[in-house]
Symmetry: C2
Subunit: 509 residues, 2 copies
């Protein structure tokens, strides 16, 4: 029953045809972005197709027909991130060329730890890091080191780890115990991976100081310097500032010039989490948002976000060559012995991990295909959409209210129930805030069930749940699509509001 060498080769061909069909239709706006099924319903759908999700009874293999049915269901019930209506996350549609490159990387199945095992993928990774460094500018253009890593969180860990090793050269051997009490600083709007880094690296959240931001989400430099001085005054040792280019919710940028000056004054490592925002460097019109970033000691940049590469494609860069090897190298003789051919080109010993997928190749092929100019067009189109959307919110006659003026391609807004218009958060009674906290998820749920646009929401500090729309890798979205979207959201909002006013439907809010 189960596949043989021949039929498995046939199967990959058949599955590939299904995938190519899927990709051709991914821009189709008439398809629901997601079909909401709970876990039990999903179980039923797969079981009905003769291929239950459970592997409990999978002692023997399954016939190709059922395997193909499973592939069809996986395509049908997964969220269509390639749809122009997928506006939920900082990643979205993967471009077909980088996707083909991703498939090639998997087909090769080479581990990019040694040049011996992956010569092409190693050489390509070095070239792509050179190019990203050149986009940052001097001193990176001339002097840098880096790695592709499985995700931006890990890049932030690298930043902290290298900083720690520079500040405390005995750390690798002695560990934290018996050393100084080190402290790191980041903004209140920074990504939670800084917090997780504090868990994992033994820093502890007590020693990760959160600095307040201005309304746009940029860190307040004076507050940072005060906190550094306060920490020093009680005998702690500041070593790291974790800045952000493009905060997750508001899309705020920290003032890098100011931060660099502070870090120089206090001899701290400046790392920029540019997972989301560093793509601005590709656009002559918008790269000013990154001004001063070249002074950072290290930087995270995720091409799988605004640049439209498939997950994962994430780069870590530093302007200190040798620090990766010094902080992470273990010199495992079974892998990195010097008596191997071209061993000095091996990348693997610089990493925290061991096995490495060749993620740089997809960015390389995409760059070759579209050029820097192509990426600039993509970034600038995303900005244009965000500008258009922000204007439309402002012009909505109070139906929608902006949470904050836009810095980047995130637009944060509420749908406002009619009696609460015009709405301003500052002067709103707590009752109104409670209402928005419930109305926003109810609208989202309505949209999900309708298969309409997926848009994320969250609270932030004292601000109740609001929508955050993001325009990532968005060449397939047109401005008029956004006008239609706002109209539909208003209708969903009205529906939710009408229903909530009928006593027997109150529970839905």
């Amino acid at each position: 029953m189960c596949p043989t060498a021949d039929t498995s080769q046939d199967l990959i061909g058949q599955i590939t045809l299904l995938l190519c069909d899927y990709l051709r239709s991914q821009g189709d706006q008439s398809q629901p972005v997601s079909r909401v099924l709970g876990p039990e319903q999903l179980q039923q759908v797969f079981a009905a197709a003769g291929i239950p999700l459970s592997l409990e009874d999978s002692h023997e293999g399954t016939a190709p027909k059922e395997l193909l049915a499973a592939v069809r269901l996986a395509l049908q019930y997964s969220v269509r991130t390639g749809s122009p209506k997928f506006l939920n996350q900082l990643y979205a549609r993967a471009d077909p060329i980088s996707l083909a490159a991703d498939w090639l990387v998997s087909a090769l199945n080479c581990n990019v730890h040694t040049y011996e095992a992956a010569p092409v993928l190693t050489a390509v990774e070095v070239e792509v890091l050179d190019k990203l460094a050149a986009c940052i500018g001097e001193p990176y253009t001339s002097t840098h080191d880096g790695l592709f890593v499985p995700g931006g969180s890990l890049s932030n860990y690298y930043g902290i780890h290298l900083a720690r090793n520079r500040a405390d050269p005995q750390y690798k051997q002695r560990g934290s115990y018996g050393g100084p009490c080190m402290v790191a600083f980041t903004s209140e709007h920074a990504h939670y991976s800084y917090l997780k880094a504090a868990f994992v690296t033994g820093l502890g959240t007590d020693n990760l100081i959160s600095i307040p931001c201005d309304a746009a989400g940029g860190i307040l430099p004076d507050k940072l310097e005060q906190a550094i001085n306060s920490a020093k005054a009680v005998g702690k040792v500041p070593f790291f500032v974790g800045a952000t280019a493009g905060t997750t919710v508001l899309g705020g940028f920290d003032p890098f010039q100011d931060l660099a000056a502070i870090c120089t004054r206090h001899n701290l490592w400046l790392h920029i989490d540019g997972a989301w925002g560093a793509a601005c460097l590709l656009s002559p019109r918008h790269r000013h948002l990154m001004e001063g970033c070249e002074q950072a000691d290290s930087l995270a940049w995720n091409p799988h976000k605004l640049m439209g590469l498939p997950l994962q494609c994430a780069a870590f860069l530093t302007r200190h060559p040798g620090m990766l090897k010094a902080s992470c190298g273990a010199n495992a003789s079974y892998l990195f012995g010097e008596d191997r051919l071209h061993a000095d080109y091996d990348l693997g010993d610089k990493t925290m991990l061991c096995g490495r997928r060749g993620d740089a190749f997809k960015l390389w092929l995409e760059w070759k295909a579209y050029g820097t100019a192509g990426f600039a067009r993509k970034v600038e189109h995303s900005f244009r959409l965000a500008e258009h959307f922000e204007k439309a919110v402002r012009a909505s006659g109070g139906k929608f209210a902006l949470v904050q003026a836009r810095s980047y391609v995130n637009v944060c807004f509420w749908w406002v129930p009619p009696p609460m218009r015009p709405f301003t958060a500052d002067s709103a009674p707590s009752e109104a805030l409670d209402t928005l906290a419930k109305v926003t998820p109810a609208i989202k749920s309505k949209m999900q069930h309708a298969g309409d646009a997926l848009i994320n929401f969250q609270p932030l500090g004292s601000l109740p749940n609001f929508f955050r729309i993001v325009f990532s890798s968005a060449l397939s979205i047109r401005e008029e699509d956004l006008d239609g979207l706002l109209n539909r959201m208003d209708q969903y909002g009205q529906g939710v509001w009408q229903a909530a006013r009928q006593p027997d439907l109150q529970p839905m809010l």
Copy 2:
């Protein structure tokens, strides 16, 4: 010139055809496993095809013809891990069905952090973890938690991190500073990721105690208990034992029953790095090697190794539900708010990272295709090849010498120059050891340049460079292939030896 929406869709089709051709021919023994080109030669080859590796001049895009040329070159000059002659690493040929599933995961481009964004991939991940847990047996079958992670090193980090949080509940908040001096234990043959974990988690290598092994690579339990008592005697706090199922070089298994008894006595967390060896659990004939593993607190298992899945596919499992969330959870409201549909099914807050590729899906489809029985056949075939190879080394009349009797599917051996036969390392003069240290890399280099089988080598303790052949996901290899391989290796050896005896060629050793 550069691709448009239409041509990029065409291109993915054309690249897919090239990939399918490549996959069909991957078992072709007449193809060289690798074509050795140094970095400069690779540059030349790509430049000559009109698509230089450098991105320096890539302001505008490149025509599809050059992109296809680049794809062809990447296929041609990458190491053919799908060849039956690729015996270099613990991963090898990826099965076409799991590869197709991997392509699907990339095409979907869903991030498996929330159920909302990836319902199918989330549900599948839970099912696959259930199945792996059931393969371990009770108590895992009934009670477990886990994650798919980008690589076994990270699984080992999770083991240490959870152990640390259990032993020192204030760790997440307070960090290491101001806490007790914690110590961990692992064997001298354990994977270097334990060492890297000591760098990264702030434990420090001073506090990672290396315990001696027997000749087969299994940790000596008495030595472990002595070391634990010695650490306690000087006021340190032991918390973690990092065991290994299938060491990287010798393929040794630690005695898990004994380790579990020691860990119970001293209240330590027992983690097993089964990245390479846990696949034994799938074979009724060989699962005895894992005896006692079900007593471990956590376990790493990489299906991208002996099970033949494409990189990355790596699972972390623990029998302590809730510990992942307690040790890693940050409750980011923008992602994991409770007012989302099915938010209690979200997997993302249990991880150290954020973005997650749906790697579990490829294991799910592969399991459906071949069943547990199919994996058992794969594992048992690998064992048969290793047994056959070991016998052939023993029967080689001294041409080859075993480093150590085989425990698993690693066979470690030397080619022995004629005057040194019969060779035993124990009684060999240091001159002979020096000779082997040079002969082994010279043979490897000859084989690489000939495009012949790739087989890893390394020193180990006082043992000079020896070959380690491994049989990973090896259904395409026949026993007679191995006889031919040994004959050819002997010829390469003789060639190296003859050349070294001519004074003007001496430098090659």
